[in-house]
């Protein structure tokens, strides 16, 4: 049964929605994703987060690769860069390095980030480039009509693994923790409120923040990563989880059966920008920094 909510009158609600100002962060065009796609929740979360964090539209850049999720920039009223398959992170790094004043959010899917673009991720993490990477994980290749992806479950059936997927899925959280990302969290498109909160924290974090977002593909995955199943699988990180403890974070990340939602790991350390600045400082002794 759906959760019952007392009927209200929309006019009583509208002021609250309008005053929130988040609508200003949406583009005119309606998202073209399949009806029911979890990405809707994410785009709504990002727009709201940008507003709540007080980031002006023109000071935000969304960079994406190729895939369903990478259509993201078209639906957000900020600067956007829709690049090539798997190449979102290097482009985003370039943008950020050129102008530290910008808030840069890279968006991509599981195929884009962990298959063809998998080679770029470790380096983005270890450099601690001050951007946010939203990994929209639907465990499938949606844009090419539903083939196996690096996060597809073992035994999952797709046109390219018609009998079953012989591989086990990657563990992205464990990887990025290992790669040294300075902020790691996980959210679920089916829990919009929590999703919003995590997007806000990720954007607010100084350094490379990685938010892994579980999201169903309603068109090509009718059996595995559905809302119905995820609703039952996901859990919150245990109360009192210490985000400064990498080992605990990794331990939690290792449980892929019951994905935990929340902030796994948080750490303050110099960003790529700061490192470059300090090099300049060392070299010239001056404080004349580029990219301002």
């Amino acid at each position: 049964m759906n959760d019952f909510a007392r009927p209200i009158f929309l006019e009583d609600k509208l002021p609250e929605i309008r005053d929130s100002g988040r609508l200003d962060y949406r583009s005119k065009t309606l998202p073209t994703w399949c009806p029911g796609c979890g990405y809707f929740a994410i785009v709504d979360g990002v727009t709201t987060a940008l507003k709540r964090e007080g980031i002006a539209n023109h000071e935000a850049v969304i960079v994406s690769g190729i895939g369903c999720s990478s259509r993201f920039p078209f639906f957000v009223n900020t600067y956007g860069f829709h690049t090539l398959h798997g190449r979102a992170l290097p482009v985003a790094t370039g943008v950020k390095t050129a102008n530290e004043a910008l808030t840069v959010v890279a968006v991509g899917g599981d195929g884009d980030g962990f298959a063809i673009g998998g080679g770029h991720l470790p380096h983005a993490c270890k450099r601690n480039v001050n951007i946010t990477y939203l990994l929209l994980d639907n465990g499938i290749y949606g844009l090419t009509k539903g083939q196996t992806s690096p996060t597809s479950a073992q035994g999952f059936r797709t046109p390219t693994s018609p009998y079953e997927n012989p591989d086990r899925p990657l563990n992205p959280l464990l990887m990025v923790l290992a790669y040294g990302a300075s902020w790691v969290g996980q959210a679920y498109a089916g829990r919009p409120a929590q999703l919003l909160d995590l997007i806000r924290q990720a954007i607010a974090h100084r350094g490379f923040s990685y938010l892994h977002i579980l999201s169903p593909c309603v068109t090509f995955d009718k059996t595995n990563r559905t809302y119905g199943n995820l609703d039952l699988q996901v859990r919150d990180l245990p109360a009192g989880h210490d985000p400064s403890d990498l080992q605990v974070a990794m331990a939690e990340a290792m449980n892929q059966e019951a994905p935990a939602l929340g902030v796994y790991f948080r750490q303050e350390r110099p960003t790529l920008g700061q490192a470059l600045d300090s090099l300049v400082d060392k070299a010239s002794g001056s404080r004349k920094h580029l990219a301002r």
Binding site: T32, W33, C34, P35, I66, C68, L84, H85, G86, A115, I116, G118, Y141, G142, L143, T144, K145, Q147, T148, P150, P159, T160, S161, P162, Y163, T219, F220
Partner: protein
């Protein structure tokens, strides 16, 4: 009645137009399979957008004939609209006295003129059907409008229902539930269609089923034909990465190969795909990968290794609109340069390009033969139109492919002094695959000498480069393969068409039309692009007062290749509409050329 007087043989083109998610393509698939099953010849081609759902336009066009056709017609006989906003611009393509079938109801208000009924021409016959309501009535949901429309079409034109029911079952065989509700939807539409008085003059004539000489007739598209060729040629390994429009090759192989104990793996990208393919080829397997332009670009370097290490492997490339991400779902023939010349260094390879679906089958199989026979990567150039175009093809009862054409090293050649890269009189070296006794050697990307040791001496590099180029000449005489073929009028002609890939279909159509206009006309298809059959082409050009080369790219890449090899000028017709070349344009060009010739031809004196 009178319709029979009008068209003795069936030649009907049906266009189904809708928004992505309306099931446009699915309906087209069922329809063409059924028609082919009934025994008609079918050519069909779908146009769809990149979005999975939402708002892109989808069109499934098919030409259903009793005589073999070579391309789609400019005008359709029937248009089915599943989405007015997309279909309205196509109403004009329906011929006089043709039928337009559309959704009569409407959920939300439409602006004045926004309904298709405002655009149907007086000469066309409108059939309004409450598709959505019927779908909801039959299935409780609106998702089967496409099948209802199919049912209506079948009922209206008096086609038998049973084949459709089977077709629907076939399409949804995995989901009995869906199949059942779609059957209901079909019947709902069929009943209404039958009850409707047919006013248009479109009519399906019965077909005489072709007597089978053991041949297997199938309704199949280019990619599927490639797969069939691979399987009949005994492919052993395949590594790939999904990319439009080549993906379905991999998808089908993934389903078929394991049944034959062969192995397929989806790699993380094209770079890894070609690497694994070369590795497997080195190990002696019949190995292939499939990709499109962007993937081929990524593979360029590894292909170079395949050339220098003389490793047999096959790369299927289905071209799409470029450059970069370009137009992933649009048709183009602009990767010929890269296929023939692409990559660094002198890296000669074999490039063949089929011109129709049946050719896809033969080229696929023959590619493995050639790769083995000449120890080189073979690129089979398809294009989006050919990959997705459906034709009825009859396959020979027995696979027409050699199981193994490797020139293995003889006993005497093996052992201590075995020269893997020996320069022989036909420049093809004796080969030993891992596991062969006494055949141990090193294949390397470094320039090497006959035994395979690194060597950068000028005479060695000269000799090895020479052999790598010369050995391919033999491919021009590869047995039991159509490298090129001439059609149309014999002897001297006013206009000769030379074309490659799917565009040759349009050329053939244009040629036939031109000849009925009394123009002396011939057409030559060139299947082998590298090495280039220069003599044959030159000979054909000798017969032609004018030579026209139509192709779907901006640079005239094939014309360039031809001129470079034959050294003579040709008339070019280069178009990049993202769709097949309109037959009309070719025809106009032919008329223009002949017109000019008429002008030049000296007046005969009696």
């Amino acid at each position: 009645m009178m319709t029979q007087r009008m068209m003795p043989a069936t030649d009907i083109q049906i266009a189904i137009c809708g928004s992505a998610g309306d099931g446009t393509i699915a309906a087209g698939e069922i329809l063409r399979n059924v028609m082919a099953g009934i025994g008609y010849k079918v050519i069909s081609f779908d146009v769809y957008p990149a979005e999975i759902r939402g708002f892109g336009k989808c069109i499934a066009r098919m030409r259903i004939t009793t005589e073999q056709a070579y391309s789609l017609k400019q005008r359709s006989d029937v248009l089915i609209s599943l989405d007015d906003s997309h279909a309205i611009p196509h109403v004009g393509e329906v011929r006089d006295c043709g039928a337009v079938i559309y959704e009569s109801g409407s959920i939300r208000p439409v602006p004045e003129g926004g309904h298709i009924s405002a655009h149907i021409l007086p000469g066309q016959l409108p059939y309004g059907v409450p598709l959505r309501e019927l779908s909801e009535k039959a299935t409780g949901a609106n998702k089967s409008r496409n099948i209802v429309a199919l049912g209506y079409l079948a009922g209206l034109f008096g086609l038998p229902a049973q084949p459709f029911i089977e077709g629907i079952d076939g399409k949804f065989k995995k989901k009995a539930e869906v199949a059942r509700s779609n059957e209901a939807a079909f019947q709902e539409g069929y009943a209404i269609g039958q009850a409707t008085y047919k006013l248009d003059d479109v009519s399906f004539e019965p077909v005489a089923r072709s007597a089978g000489n053991g041949a297997r007739v199938a309704m199949i598209n280019g990619n599927a034909a490639v797969v069939r060729g691979c399987l009949d040629a005994g492919i052993e390994t395949f590594f790939g990465y999904p990319i439009t429009p080549a993906t379905s090759i991999m998808e089908r192989l993934a389903a078929e190969m394991p049944k034959r104990g062969a192995r397929l793996l989806q790699t993380e990208d094209e770079i890894s795909a070609i690497s694994a393919t070369v590795g497997a080829g080195y190990a002696g397997a019949r190995a292939a990968t499939a990709t499109s332009g962007p993937g081929l670009a990524l593979m360029a370097e590894m292909l170079g290794l395949g050339v220098i290490a003389e490793v047999p492997c096959v790369v299927f490339v289905s071209q799409r609109g470029g450059p970069a991400t370009g137009m992933p779902t649009k048709h183009e023939q602009s990767d010929l340069h890269m296929a023939v010349y692409g990559g660094h260094g002198d890296a000669p390879r074999i490039v063949i390009a089929p011109t129709n679906v049946e050719g896809c089958y033969r080229c696929a199989g023959k590619a493995f033969e050639m790769a083995e026979a000449y120890q080189v990567p073979v690129i089979v150039l398809l294009d989006l139109y050919l990959s997705n175009r459906y034709e009825t093809v009859s396959f020979p009862a027995r696979p027409p492919f050699e199981p193994d054409m490797t020139r293995y090293a003889e006993k005497g050649e093996l052992g201590e002094g075995y020269k893997r890269f020996r320069v022989t009189e036909d420049f093809i070296s004796p080969r030993a695959v891992p596991g062969t006794r006494e055949g141990m050697h090193v294949a390397t990307g470094l320039e090497h000498n006959e035994p395979g040791r690194p060597n950068d001496q000028p005479e060695n590099h000269q000799a090895q480069s020479h052999k790598r180029h010369q050995k391919l000449k033999a491919a021009l005489r590869h047995p039991d393969f159509t490298h090129y073929k001439r059609f149309g009028d014999e002897g001297k002609v006013d206009v000769g068409l030379i074309a490659w890939g799917s565009t040759f279909g349009e050329c053939l159509e244009a040629m036939h039309k031109a000849r009925t206009d009394g123009i002396r006309c011939a057409a030559m298809k060139v299947v082998m692009l590298s090495p280039f059959p220069a003599e044959a082409v030159a000979a054909f050009m000798d017969d032609c007062a004018a030579v026209l080369v139509p192709e779907v790219n901006y640079q005239g890449q094939f014309a360039n290749l031809l001129q470079a090899n034959v050294g003579r000028r040709v008339e070019r017709l280069d178009r990049v509409p993202g769709t097949p070349m309109p037959v009309e344009e070719i025809l106009q060009e032919i008329r223009r050329l002949t017109g000019r010739i008429e002008a030049r031809r000296p007046v005969r004196v009696a």
